[in-house]
């Protein structure tokens, strides 16, 4: 049986949706909660799908909720909003004005682990991903000047590892890490760790939040 959380600034809409979902035979628990409470409950685990109804959709909210449970965004149906939602981590997106059956079916898809967006928006999403990947490939060409080892150090620096962690992970000394770092910064004409992280992001590398320290 599915456990679903609905969060919406519109209590009438959110309440009605939660009540309708609760009536589905495969739904065990569906609650309408305020955003903060929804995030807290989802973070406890066991939530199959979190339905976020918002207008406008705030990507940071999506990202926060998506870290705790699969998020279905119910939005305005615009391609831009759908792309921002998916980029922020939403697993599904449909127009909030869609029929209840469409929303319920999308919830079930997400619960099965199937990412689902409004069919009419699929082309725009594919186009966006193709263009982003092209831009990432282009940005990655800048890294061709690095040696394989420097590439490795670059990736780990971008993931937020400090010199000590990096030295430990690569079985090299901290001094060698510093030398690699200096060379990387010079070759790529970078002046700070944040510039390095920004380049890594443009290259499409997976990044973790980093402390606010500057590279040497």
């Amino acid at each position: 049986m599915l456990k679903i959380i609905v969060t919406s600034p519109d209590e009438v809409f959110g309440g009605a949706l939660a009540a309708a979902l609760s009536g589905a035979p495969d739904v065990g628990d569906c609650s309408m909660l305020a955003m903060e409470e929804a995030a807290a409950v989802a973070e406890e685990g066991n939530t199959d799908v979190l339905v976020l109804h918002a207008g406008p959709v705030e990507p940071p909210d999506v990202a926060r909720l998506a870290a705790a449970a699969p998020v279905l965004v119910l939005g305005t149906g615009s391609a831009e909003e759908m792309i921002a939602s998916v980029e922020a981590g939403a697993m599904g997106y449909v127009d909030a004005d869609s029929p209840f059956e469409t929303i319920a079916e999308t919830v079930r898809s997400l619960a099965k682990g199937v990412a689902t967006v409004e069919p009419k928006l699929l082309g725009a999403l594919l186009r966006h991903v193709v263009e982003r990947r092209r831009a990432e490939r282009e940005a990655r060409k800048a890294l061709d000047v690095l040696t394989p080892r420097e590439n490795q150090v670059f990736s780990l620096l971008a993931q937020g590892l400090d010199s000590g962690d990096l030295a430990e992970q690569l079985f090299i000394s901290s001094q060698t890490v510093r030398t690699h770092t200096q060379r990387i910064m010079t070759k790529l004409d970078l002046h700070s760790r944040s510039e390095l992280v920004a380049l890594a992001a443009r290259c499409g590398l997976d990044l973790e939040p980093i402390p606010g320290e500057e590279a040497q």
Binding site: V114, A115, P119, L122, L125, L126, V129, V130, R133
Partner: protein, 101 residues
């Protein structure tokens, strides 16, 4: 006209001619006034047809699908090709190969 099968690893399919498009729910009808034929496309086929701009390769489409679905690119490339081949047969797209250099 060549009837050789395209090399889908480099092909850049492109929509052909003027067609009329009408969306109805998850299905889309494409009417080709030149031939008088009507085609029905599902959402995935329509999305791929929309990407046929003469500059996007089938592997690029497959990579994007793979990223969105979590399915391996080898499988999504098969899906892309099996979607595009009928469109090619029906004359809704044409294919030019990218010079691999």
């Amino acid at each position: 006209m060549s009837f050789e099968a395209p090399d889908w690893t480099t092909a850049t399919p492109e929509k052909v001619g003027e067609v009329w498009v009408r969306r109805e729910g998850d299905q889309t009808a494409i009417y080709d006034p030149k031939t008088g034929l009507l085609y029905a496309l599902n959402a995935s086929a329509l999305a791929l047809w929309e990407l046929c701009d003469g500059g996007t390769t089938a592997p690029e489409m497959a990579e994007a699908l793979s990223e969105l679905t979590g399915v391996a690119t080898e499988s999504t490339l098969e899906d892309v090709v099996s979607t595009l081949e009928p469109l090619l047969d029906q004359g809704l797209v044409s294919v030019a190969a990218v010079d691999a250099g």
